[in-house]
Symmetry: C2
Subunit: 767 residues, 2 copies
């Protein structure tokens, strides 16, 4: 640390402290209980709430630039076809049409790991990009799409993953329908041996459907050039990924691309990559020298921006009479759509329960449908439904309470790597969740309650990562008036990132949250952080912010010591005032310190430190559902969900509850209604809109009780937060399904649990 | 420094280097001669040149936002008046008028050091703000101004500084016409004693006029609110000053205000503060909830945004026959207009020449005219004209060559603080400048050449500060593709700041300048730097950028050492590739290093180190002018200016020459034509436009030869640049005036040297 007071003799330099250089602070002590904190863990309204409610917040889809034009994308109506020719001449004649991009005039930009091009002559699913029209208005661009004449040669196609695996199936890509030619396999111990040791072997098959992210804000970009520099406003979860992809696609330096995302209406994993629309907007903008905006519509959202792959899971468990699991195996098939991705979903089975003998085999299969993408806890949501259903069955088969069965196979060690968790409070979650739902109230005999409306209670377990880690940086600027700017290269998906950053800075510097302004979501000006995915944002960014704030506090104390002519150890910092311990009359404010310096702003940069080696960081949770099944209509109503989780430290109970509510409602949709349906005869999506693709509304929303059983996990960072986004959704569908079974006494093994399936199941009983 | 390779066993973490922490680099060795450098010191085109020429560059006055409205300011037509009433009712009726702000509904915001308000009932000069109308278009707003009825009570006024000092003069402020009640005084040694020791005492009076900055881009702001956060696009030289002033005016945290300035069409000191228009735009925008744009027009530029104060300077010098200066005194009066400022101009006299006995007395006087503001080398331009004229006279009086006289009184020590300069190469400037102009060609007897067109040669000396210093920070981001983003809290006035920052990064990292992108001019996202004034920008910012780049290089070497499993000392960095000294086959690129890390971006922050204590940092220079005077019309044509300067290291000869050309042309305007004229009977400005206020055009521009006699000053920083902006203008007018004297043989002691003054002077000779 370098500092000095300059007793200047120059008239133009008043007495100043020279720049306070880097201060070295001791390793930051992890926070204790939230009870000891003032802002962290306290319900805090979103700092961006007011502008969102008032409509002032400018989302990417709201960006309007002078001279901006609009572009719309023509998409393939066919599931598999060769484009023989495109005639855009008529469309070009339409007044207001400015430019049309097709495979004929677009640069050859590789896409989907170079299995295709930005505009390819081969289209492989209904929705694949064929052309793009830029025009003076969105309406004109849309009209022009109808005037483009595309000559297609239709080819055989396959929309079903199981079909696609057959030898005689049409091939989506010439080298076959398995991206790497083989399934993904995992094995530990000896499953056959384990099954032999079992008293009972249970085997069953469970299926889950394809669901679509259907974010509130559609995927969109606005691209604007200034000379050789490109700015893209993008609705994205990963500004730096988008930047680097666009730069690589256009073969320009990444430093020449600026990606900005201020507010966003949801991503759920569908916005982790640069979309074709972003690159198309940039290409057209460069050509016509005007800003270009592309906003996908709801139909495109349902066709072309990703989905959660379906699954056909066949699971086997070896169980001893006392409940011990001796073996687990998992075989799954899932459609990844037309381009490379993964549909594996065996991870929960590999790791939730103590089991020595495990094997999994996952088939991620090409089909002529829209490509899958990461979707909130990819794999885990499907896999948890399969695994937890099997566990429920196993418990019942040996006559054990399903909760007790889970406790019997509880483990404090990660099962894949055989290392301990930094912390695991799943037992508390089981206990508190069971109490809250009234676990004892469940039907001892499933389906045994009377009446048309039958109630049942079920539960399921969840595991996820989410401990975060480096890289995450935050820069903190303390202004002369004691106000603070914090910058981080992260982005807010709508989950409350702005707010927790402000809370952390407020907590450390003991300054009112109103004085703290947050800037994120800008690749050019913000320090680097990774993508907002995997429930890692708060766990990664919060410690970086704390580090920057603690450094700032140390700088202030250092400056105060210089001015008050005392040593740093004798000083106390409280609410922006630094005073001498035994002489509180000797004190100085932030304002006074900075006023004594040449700077009007002090700057620090903090970083997320590394995670401990040899430990696994996971979140855990259990959700308990109570449902009411109308045995007359087959409709399932979810009465209540209790979500009891270990997610490390709660930063903000308000936004935490928001995320749980969102995840649970999304999980409810997955359990009961959402499903992308493809007509296997035509290869066309039957549900590319929000009247046939049903998502839950407020009328479907149950009572939700969120119970957090954890405090800060001091092993992972100075803040000890893990992550919330994904844990919230993982066990919901399984818990609901088990509650339905508990209500009606027949297990529905195929999601979504729609009224027809319920009625069919009830018919089975009656027979 | 912390770094490690993680041999990870987790499937989701490939082999990575953990974050490379802070690397400590040894003190950066100052660069040697520019010959040893590749980019620095080489003519480099502006990186923002193309977008400026193409018109793509968005200056503040070009900013257009959705839903934006335009505002125009009503200004007092009177030099001194009390507003009795304002009736805006008729104006409000005009269709398209949205809001009108006057003293009646504006908050009481103190202005001009609280000697007035944002909107005051008392107006003190023609141009003082009276009301502001916001409307759907600029035209409607302008029309509405005419419909506002203001009832003024006219009061006595004074427009002349000498008049204003008289006891019976009207008082601009009730406490008198001297801001602090007394003149500013300085004294060292004993002037009376010095004068007694002299062989000759010379006394004379020189006057200079008021000139107006008349920047190409007018003063302007666009204000936009989002909730409680305000963004202001402002044409300013000091984004952080503007931010803090606006925040203080509106009583909101500085962190809630973001000031952005990307490109600017000149400031010259007139844009160092927040203008009333900025705060007015913010107030109206908050009220009507739409973005508000205010762009001043040329008339307002001439009335209300500052000027260089005039001066009436009476100087006295004691001179020995051998040329030794025994005493110097300076008495000056200058009008600062209606609000507090300074008009002192004695600094050059205090310090340029070796002299033990010096006294100065400066009267900065209120008058009912537009307020003065800093204008390119405030004080020095006026003072240099006075001092250098006196020196020229003194030299002639004792029959000495004026250049020889100056060398006789040369000093290597600052005369005010009696400390050495870090470097001073003025002697070289004298020698090289004299050679370049052909000093021997001057008329030995002034005015002795024949013919109607008489030529003459003159010269003058210049001193200025401009060594820069802390605080200045730069953040450098190195992207995975080897491209670089650099950010600094400085701003480009149009002088080439973007370009030298890119050059420094390019030089250190040996990467092509096309890969380097610069972001400055944003208070929210850029690290802090001070105002762009005082010729300090390059001298302050360039070392900060170098520091950041050197740290980055050290990080890369550190990362390479980890990956190549060798020690850092054994590695060589060249053009983005790091190789082992004795085994060039072992090498790794930037891309490969960053690809081995979790980061896609490496970040470093550099800072400007402190200047050495006990030394004075100054720039020095001499300009030589050759003029041709048409003795028939009285018109002076400047044939050639040689500018020979010591400005430390040349970063970019191209932009350096640009700045010298601009400064010299502006100095020529000051010498020959520019003058704000006020009618003392009405108090009105007679020249508030560009057809009566003459500024030089390309037709007035002489041949300019720039000679830099200095290299990097290694005492001040690792870069060793001083500053160019102000040195360029300081001696020009004096050199031209002396050349005119040399041509016609009669000395014109009053600027500007207009044809009428020349003809009058020639008439005097003839008599």
């Amino acid at each position: 640390m370098t500092r000095k007071i300059v007793k200047s003799k120059y008239h133009f330099e008043p007495d100043l402290i020279e720049t306070i250089g880097e201060v070295s602070i001791e390793e930051i002590k992890p926070w204790g209980s939230n009870d000891e904190l003032k802002i962290i863990g306290k319900p805090t309204s979103r700092i961006d709430g007011a502008v969102k409610v008032s409509g002032e917040a400018v989302y990417t889809s709201d960006v309007i630039l002078p001279n901006m034009v609009y572009a719309k994308i023509l998409r393939s109506p066919h599931p598999n076809a060769q484009i023989k020719n495109i005639d855009t001449s008529e469309a070009e004649q339409l007044e207001g049409v400015l430019y049309i991009l097709t495979y004929k005039n677009a640069p050859e930009i590789g896409w989907y790991y170079n299995t295709s091009y930005l505009f390819d002559k081969q289209v492989r699913y209904q929705g694949d990009e064929v052309a793009c029209v830029a025009a003076e208005s969105e309406k004109i661009a849309e009209d022009a799409l109808h005037l483009i004449k595309v000559e297609y040669e239709n080819l055989p196609f396959v929309t079903d993953a199981v079909e696609a695996l057959k030898d005689n199936s049409p091939k989506v890509h010439e080298w076959g329908n398995l991206p790497r030619g083989n399934p993904d396999k995992y094995k530990r111990g000896d499953v056959e041996k384990g099954l032999k040791e079992a008293d009972l072997v249970i085997e069953d098959t469970f299926t889950t459907q394809v669901v679509v992210h259907n974010t509130t804000e559609p995927h969109c970009s606005v691209a604007k050039w200034e000379g050789s520099k490109l700015t893209v406003w993008d609705s994205t979860q990963a500004i730096f990924n988008v930047r680097d992809s666009i730069a690589a696609s256009l073969q320009i330096p990444a430093s020449s691309v600026r990606v900005i995302k201020k507010y966003m209406g949801g991503g759920f994993g569908s916005k982790l990559e640069a979309g074709k629309y972003s690159v198309i907007a940039a290409l057209i903008s460069r050509k016509i020298k005007r800003p270009v905006k592309i906003v996908l519509d709801r139909r495109e959202e349902n066709l072309a921006v990703g989905n959660r792959p379906n699954s056909i899971q066949t699971l086997k468990a070896g169980v001893k009479k006392d409940g011990t699991l001796t073996a687990l195996s998992h075989h799954s098939i899932g459609s990844i759509g037309a381009y490379p991705d993964g549909a594996g979903c065996s991870w929960p089975l590999r790791t939730i329960y103590k089991c020595e003998n495990v094997s999994t085999e996952e088939y991620s299969v090409f089909t002529n449908t829209g490509k899958s993408r990461a979707y909130r806890a990819p794999g885990h949501v499907q896999g948890t439904f399969g695994l937890e259903s099997l566990i429920d069955i196993a418990a019942e088969k040996i006559g054990m309470d399903p909760l007790e069965f889970r406790l019997k196979n509880y483990t404090d060690k990660d099962q894949v790597y055989n290392i301990p968790y930094t912390s695991k409070k799943l037992k508390d979650a089981y206990e508190k969740g069971a109490n809250a739902i009234g676990w004892h109230r469940r039907n001892k005999v499933p389906g045994s309650s009377n009446g048309i409306l039958k109630r049942g209670i079920g539960m399921a377990t969840q595991i996820w990562w989410g401990g975060g880690g480096p890289p995450a940086y935050a820069t903190l600027k303390l202004n002369r008036d004691g106000s603070v700017n914090v910058m981080a290269g992260t982005q807010d998906l709508g989950t409350g990132t702005y707010t927790f950053i402000a809370q952390v800075a407020s907590e450390v510097l003991q300054l009112p949250i109103e004085k703290i302004s947050i800037t994120i979501g800008d690749t050019e000006t913000c320090p680097y952080c990774g993508a907002s995915g995997g429930s890692t944002t708060a766990a990664s960014v919060a410690p970086a912010v704390r580090d920057a704030a603690e450094q700032m506090k140390a700088k202030l104390i250092s400056g105060a010591a210089a001015i008050l002519e005392t040593s740093e150890e004798k000083l106390i910092y409280a609410e922006g005032i630094i005073s001498v311990k035994n002489d509180p009359s000797k004190k100085i404010t932030i304002h006074e310190i900075i006023s004594k310096m040449r700077e009007r702003v002090l700057v620090t940069t903090g970083a997320r430190s590394a995670n401990p080696e040899g430990y696994m960081i996971n979140t855990f949770g259990a959700q308990f559902a109570e449902v009411e099944v109308d045995t007359f209509t087959g409709k399932v109503r979810v009465i209540k969900i209790v979500a009891a989780h270990d997610i490390g430290r709660v930063l903000n109970p308000k936004t935490l509850e928001n995320q749980f509510h969102g995840g649970i409602i999304q999980g409810l949709g997955y359990a009961l209604m959402e499903e992308r349906k493809v007509d296997s005869n035509t290869g066309k999506v039957l549900t590319a809109n929000l009247y046939s693709y049903l998502i839950p509304t407020i009328m479907d929303t149950p009572e939700i009780e969120v119970i957090i059983v954890s405090e800060g996990d001091s092993m992972i960072s100075s803040v000890g937060a893990k992550g919330v986004g994904e844990p919230a959704i993982i066990p919901t569908a399984a818990a609901i399904a088990h509650a339905v079974y508990n209500a009606i006494g027949v297990r529905i093994k195929s999601l979504p649990i729609t009224p027809d399936k319920v009625l069919n199941a009830l018919t089975l009983i009656k027979r």
